[in-house]
């Protein structure tokens, strides 16, 4: 139990709980809206934004947050106006992010080590200020989800019916996009650009297999995510494994386990 006496482990677990709750709860809405891959697209865009930050010597997440929020709103706009479907919009944003990232990392050769920590994440290196930032943001996001829960649920269930019922579709969709963008940027520090979408997709899909009712799906998704992060941190510390990948593998194990149980 001496593992819990380390400050970096405490920081990792606390930030993991908050980020895990956010990704898993938003994940249920996104998966059901068939926007699972938005995590991939926005995290790839974050790659571009982070390289810009590193290149100009600005804290990378400060650059990533506004760019990713704008991109998430752009994806929503493209889908809403039927210019492009969800997959194509996300694909284009994703390709743009990666291209920008590759160019800036190629020009600014000196920051590849920093970039590596964003690509693959390391929750064990989360700083005190990052911890505070993620807690505050996570609390704000959770309050917003609580206040707009039924609107979010309705646009996920049936956007046309929601509109007829007087739900302010544009506002709620934009809200969901902004919350998703913020959550993805926060989660990058934990599991990295390469794996952040897994934190959105896997716990939600695991919960969907074993839950009855939307509220229960949200709760189960949160529990599964937090448990995976907690166990992932312990395993990565114990066996000296990369934390992000370990967390995702624990998540995948639970997903396959729930699939087998569900089939029986």
């Amino acid at each position: 139990m001496e593992i819990f006496e380390y400050t970096f482990i405490q920081n990792a677990i606390i930030s993991g709980i908050f980020i895990g709750l956010l990704t898993s709860i938003l994940g249920v809405f996104l998966v059901l809206k068939k926007l699972s891959l938005i995590g991939d697209g926005l995290s790839h865009l974050s790659f571009g934004a982070i390289t810009i930050g590193l290149f100009f010597g600005i804290y990378p997440l400060w650059v990533a947050i506004p760019i990713v929020i704008l991109a998430s709103l752009l994806i929503q706009f493209l889908i809403q106006k039927s210019f492009l479907d969800g997959d194509s919009s996300i694909g284009i944003i994703s390709a743009f992010g990666i291209s920008v990232g590759v160019i800036f990392s190629s020009i600014g050769k000196g920051f590849n080590i920093d970039l590596f920590s964003y690509l693959f994440g390391n929750i064990l290196t989360v700083t005190k200020s990052e911890l505070t930032f993620s807690i505050i943001l996570a609390i704000i996001i959770m309050i917003v989800i609580y206040l707009y829960y039924y609107d979010l649920l309705y646009i996920t269930f049936d956007i046309e019916q929601a509109k007829v019922s007087g739900v302010k579709i544009n506002f709620i969709q934009s809200l969901l996009s902004i919350l998703t963008a913020l959550t993805i940027v926060l989660a990058i520090r934990m599991v990295g650009i390469m794996l952040v979408s897994a934190l959105i997709i896997i716990p939600a899909n695991t919960a969907l297999q074993i839950s009855n009712g939307f509220r229960q799906t949200l709760i189960n998704s949160g529990i599964i995510s937090v448990f995976s992060i907690f166990l992932g941190i312990l395993l990565s510390f114990k066996f000296n494994l990369p934390s992000g990948a370990t967390i995702i593998l624990v998540n995948l194990f639970l997903f396959f386990f729930s699939t087998i149980i569900n089939r029986k």
Partner: protein, 250 residues
């Protein structure tokens, strides 16, 4: 009788193709309107236009208010054509889905009160599905699912119920039962019903008004006038037209 829907010269074009052309009609409170027409006649487009989901030219008044100023959407319940197929795997329970119908009545923050929960239970009881309130949609039969969606539209106590081919996937027996529920809502609660179907036979014994569309308004009136209208033989073969009217000894 109170006019609750007034449509004047509305036309709809989508990508330069005319879907509806110069439709004018007035629907009164308590009407049970059967909306018929061949595939592509513009039935769903007409409904979507009435619900503010489709751009149009012309005038629409709902409850004596122009549609662009109308805010009382809770007075209109809508059950869409694709609802059942689109929502079948949604993880919500019956109770959660019916509660969504109360959203239009809630003010920010939209947190349901005890009264809202009670209204949901009452809607479920009205449609005799209170015992399945904790089941998820995929555990229900087609008929039960349609009752759930109907309960969702009824829970806000609408004055108008708009249903777009909701009985398509149902067995004839369940379809009849569903239509009888609608008839009782129309008779006992004076709810105005607009019901789209491509099968006129399924509805003619329930509807008191018939709206026959084929991009333009082909017929609008009661069943008696419908049977007397010889020009409709162009759209029906004669025996079909007669069989509809024979059911009512017209």
């Amino acid at each position: 009788m109170k006019n609750i829907i007034k449509i004047k010269n509305i036309s709809v074009s989508i990508q330069n193709s005319i879907i509806l052309n110069d439709i004018s009609l007035t629907i009164q409170k308590g009407d049970f309107v059967g909306i018929f027409g061949p595939n592509g006649a513009g039935k769903t487009t007409l409904i979507r236009t009435l619900l503010g989901l489709q751009n149009f030219s012309g005038e629409i008044n709902l409850f004596n208010k122009s549609i662009d100023k109308f805010e009382g959407w809770s007075k209109i319940g809508y059950l869409s054509q694709k609802q059942a197929t689109r929502s079948i795997n949604f993880p919500s329970t019956v109770f959660e889905i019916v509660m969504l119908g109360r959203i239009s009545l809630l003010k920010f923050p939209k947190i349901p009160s005890h009264q809202d929960k009670l209204a949901v239970i009452q809607a479920l009881e009205k449609l005799k599905i209170a015992d399945i309130k904790n089941l998820s949609l995929k555990e229900l039969s087609g008929g039960q699912q349609q009752r759930v969606f109907l309960a969702k539209t009824l829970v806000a106590n609408p004055e108008i119920l708009i249903l777009d081919e909701p009985t398509n996937a149902l067995d004839p027996e369940i379809r009849k039962e569903f239509l009888e529920i609608l008839q009782s809502l129309n008779k006992n609660y004076n709810i105005t019903i607009l019901f789209i179907t491509h099968d006129i036979h399924s509805l003619n014994e329930f509807a008191n008004k018939i709206l026959f569309l084929n991009k333009k308004l082909v017929f609008w009136g009661n069943l008696l006038d419908f049977c007397k209208d010889d020009s409709l033989s162009f759209y029906f073969n004669e025996s079909e037209h007669h069989s509809i009217c024979k059911q009512h000894n017209i």
